[in-house]
Amino acid sequence: MTAKAVKVSVNRNKKIRQTKVDYFFDTLNVIIMVIIMFIILYPLYFTIIASFSDPYAVVNGQVYFWPINPTLEPYQNVLKESRIWIGYKNNLINVPLGTLWNLILTMPAAYVLSKKKLHGRALLATYFLIPMYFGGGLVPTYLQIKSMHLVNKSYTLIMLGGLSIYNMIVSRVFFQTSIPEDIYESATIDGATDFRQFFQIALPLAKPIIAVMALFYAVGRWNDYFTAMIYITDQNYQPLQIVLRGILLLNQTALSNLDTNNLGNDDIEYMLTLARQVYMAEGMKYSLIFISSAPLLIAYPFVQKYFVKGIMIGSLKG
C-alpha cells in the first residue's frame, strides 16, 4: 500500500468510528473556538471602526459593528501632533539599529556556546545562566547605567536591552541541533579558522534563526515602554510608546471635566467649540492606537510562522 492509500484508509476508519459523543464534541469545540475568536477580535475591530467613526458617535455609544459617519478627521488630527512624528522617527531609527546591535551580541555568543569542544564551556554557560534568575534590581541597575553615562543620550535606547539571554539560549539550541558537526570538522581539516567557520559556514546556515531573533528583538523594541520611561527624559529622544502614553493615558479627564449643566447663553458658543475639541481628542485616541500598532499588525500575518518557530526551538531545550 502506498502512503496515500494508508492515509485514506485511516480517514475512513475515523469516519466509521465517529460516535455521537465525537460528533457532539466536534460541534461544541468549533462553536467555542468561534466565540473565543470573536472575544479576541472584537476589541481590535472596535478600535479600528471607532477610529474611522465620527467621534460624537463613538462617545455617545452608537458604534458597535460598523463605522458611523466615516471620517478621516481623527487621523488628520493625529498627524498634526509633532510629538507623534518625533516618536515615530525615534522608533524608526532605534528599532533597526538596536536590533542589529542585538544580533551582533547574540549570534556569536550563541555559536560559541554551542561548541562542545570549547574549553571552559560549562563555566561560560553558568556565567550566562545566573543573571536569568538573579539580578541587581531597578535601583542598582539604574545607578550602573547612569555611571556609564548612558542616561538620556541619543543612543540610550539602542545600547540598552542589548542581549536577551533567553534568546541567546534559543539560538544556541538552533546551532546545536540544525547544523551538523561534520561540516565544522571537515572545515577544520581544510584549515578554516574558527572565525571563518563562524562567518562563512555557521552564519549563512543560521539565516532562519537570525530572522526569528531579529523579529523577536524588533517587536520587543517597538513595544518597549519601560526602558525609555526610566532612562529618557529628553523630549527629542522619546520613543513612540512614551508619546502614546502621554496622549492616551495622561489626559483622560478632559471629557469628564466638561460641565454642561450650568451654562449662560453667551457661553454656549464657546462651550460648543470646547466640546468639539474634547470629542476630537477622544476620537484621536482610537486612531492613535491603530497608527502605532499598524506596522506590527500589517506585518503580523506574514511573519507569524517565524515567531512560532522561535518558540518551538526554545521549547526543545529551555
Binding site: 479576541i40 550602573q144 574558527d194
Partner: protein
C-alpha cells in the same frame, strides 16, 4: 624518579594540555567577548551594586564609600505600614494570574482537536495576534473601554440593563481587569508551547486508544494530557518562581489614585521610592527582598515537583 614527581609531572602535563586547548580556542573567546562584557556591565555590575541595600548610599560617596548600615533598610520595610498591603497586593495579582494558568492548556487541547486545517490555522492566527500589541496600547484600550461616561464595556452593561460603573476606579475590580486583559492578550501565545508538545504525541498511541474504544474525551484525558505533563510542570515551576514579580509596566499604566488600594505592588513601590523619591538604598533593599523571595519560591516549587513528578528545572 619516585611516585610524587611522576604525579607532578602528570599534573603539569595536564595543565599544559589545558592551557594549549584554551589558547587554541582564542578565536572563539574573541567571538563571545562582546556578550561577556555586556552581561558583566549590565547584569553583574548591578549585582555588585546591590550592596547599597545594606549601606546608607550617598551618590557623592559612591557605592564603596558609603557607610554600612546592616539590615536597617530591610527592617524599615518590614515595619512599614505599607508592608502587608504591598505583599498582599502583589500576591493577589500573581495568584489570580496563576489560577488562569490552565486556560492556555485547555485552548491548546481544543485547537489540537480541530480537524479542518484551515480553520485551525485561522484560530491560531487570531488568538496569537494580541500578543504583539504593546502594553501601552493594551492599557489604553482597557482604559478607553472601562471609562464610565463612554466606554464600550459600560455601554454594553447599560444595554443589558446594568448600572454604569467606573471600572478602573474601583480597587476591587483592579485585579480582575488586570488578569483578564492579560488572558485576552496572551492566552493564544501561551498555548503555542502546548500545541508544540501535543504535536509530539504519537499517533499510534491515539489510534490504539481508539481501537480500545476510547472516545475523544477519554483520549484527551488519558493520552494527550499525560503526554504534555512535563511541559506543563516546567511552565508551572517557572510561573511560581515569579510569584512576587508582577509585570511593572501594566500595573503602573493601569494605576490611578482611586485604585491604589489594590494596585500598589512591590514593583511600583520600588520605582516610586527609588527613582521618584531617590531613596536608593531603601528601594534597593525592597528589590533584593523581592528577588530572594522569588528565588526561594522557585527552589521550593522545583523541589516539590521533583519529588512528586520527577520533572524539574534543575
Amino acid at each position: 624518579m619516585n611516585y610524587t614527581t611522576v604525579r607532578i609531572g602528570k599534573r603539569s602535563e595536564h595543565i599544559k594540555h589545558t592551557l594549549r586547548g584554551v589558547l587554541s580556542d582564542w578565536r572563539l573567546y574573541i567571538l563571545i567577548a562582546p556578550a561577556v562584557v555586556y552581561i558583566f556591565l549590565f547584569n553583574y555590575m548591578p549585582m555588585y551594586g546591590v550592596q547599597i541595600a545594606f549601606k546608607d548610599f550617598r551618590p557623592s560617596k559612591g557605592i564603596w564609600g558609603s557607610a554600612w548600615v546592616g539590615f536597617d533598610y530591610f527592617q524599615q520595610f518590614i515595619n512599614n505600614p505599607l508592608f502587608g498591603k504591598l505583599i498582599w497586593n502583589t500576591m493577589r495579582i500573581s495568584l489570580y494570574s496563576l489560577a488562569t494558568f490552565p486556560l492556555p492548556i485547555v485552548l491548546a487541547l481544543m485547537i489540537n482537536e480541530l480537524d479542518n486545517q484551515k480553520f485551525k490555522k485561522t484560530v491560531q492566527m487570531v488568538t496569537y495576534a494580541p500578543h504583539f500589541l504593546s502594553t501601552v496600547v493594551v492599557c489604553s484600550m482597557v482604559t478607553l473601554f472601562c471609562s464610565k461616561e463612554n466606554g464600550l464595556f459600560n455601554n454594553l452593561i447599560e444595554m443589558v440593563g446594568g448600572e454604569r460603573v467606573s471600572i478602573l476606579e474601583k480597587a476591587s475590580l483592579f485585579t480582575p481587569v488586570y488578569v483578564w486583559s492579560g488572558v485576552w492578550q496572551s492566552i493564544g501565545w501561551n498555548s503555542i508551547l502546548y500545541i508544540a508538545a501535543l504535536s509530539g504525541v504519537s499517533p499510534e498511541l491515539v489510534e490504539a486508544a481508539r481501537i480500545d474504544g476510547a472516545n475523544r474525551f477519554q483520549i484527551i484525558t488519558h493520552v494527550n494530557i499525560p503526554s504534555i505533563m512535563p511541559t506543563v510542570v516546567i511552565t508551572l515551576i517557572m510561573s511560581c518562581g515569579s510569584v512576587l514579580s508582577v509585570g511593572f509596566e501594566k500595573v503602573y499604566l493601569l494605576q490611578n489614585k482611586l485604585n491604589m488600594d489594590a494596585s500598589n505592588v512591590i514593583a511600583t513601590y520600588v520605582y516610586e521610592l527609588g527613582l521618584i523619591s531617590a531613596q536608593y538604598s531603601a528601594s534597593a533593599a525592597i528589590g533584593l527582598f523581592n528577588t530572594i523571595v522569588n528565588i526561594t519560591m522557585l527552589l521550593i516549587v522545583n523541589a516539590i515537583a521533583r519529588r512528586v513528578s520527577e520533572i524539574s528545572l534543575f
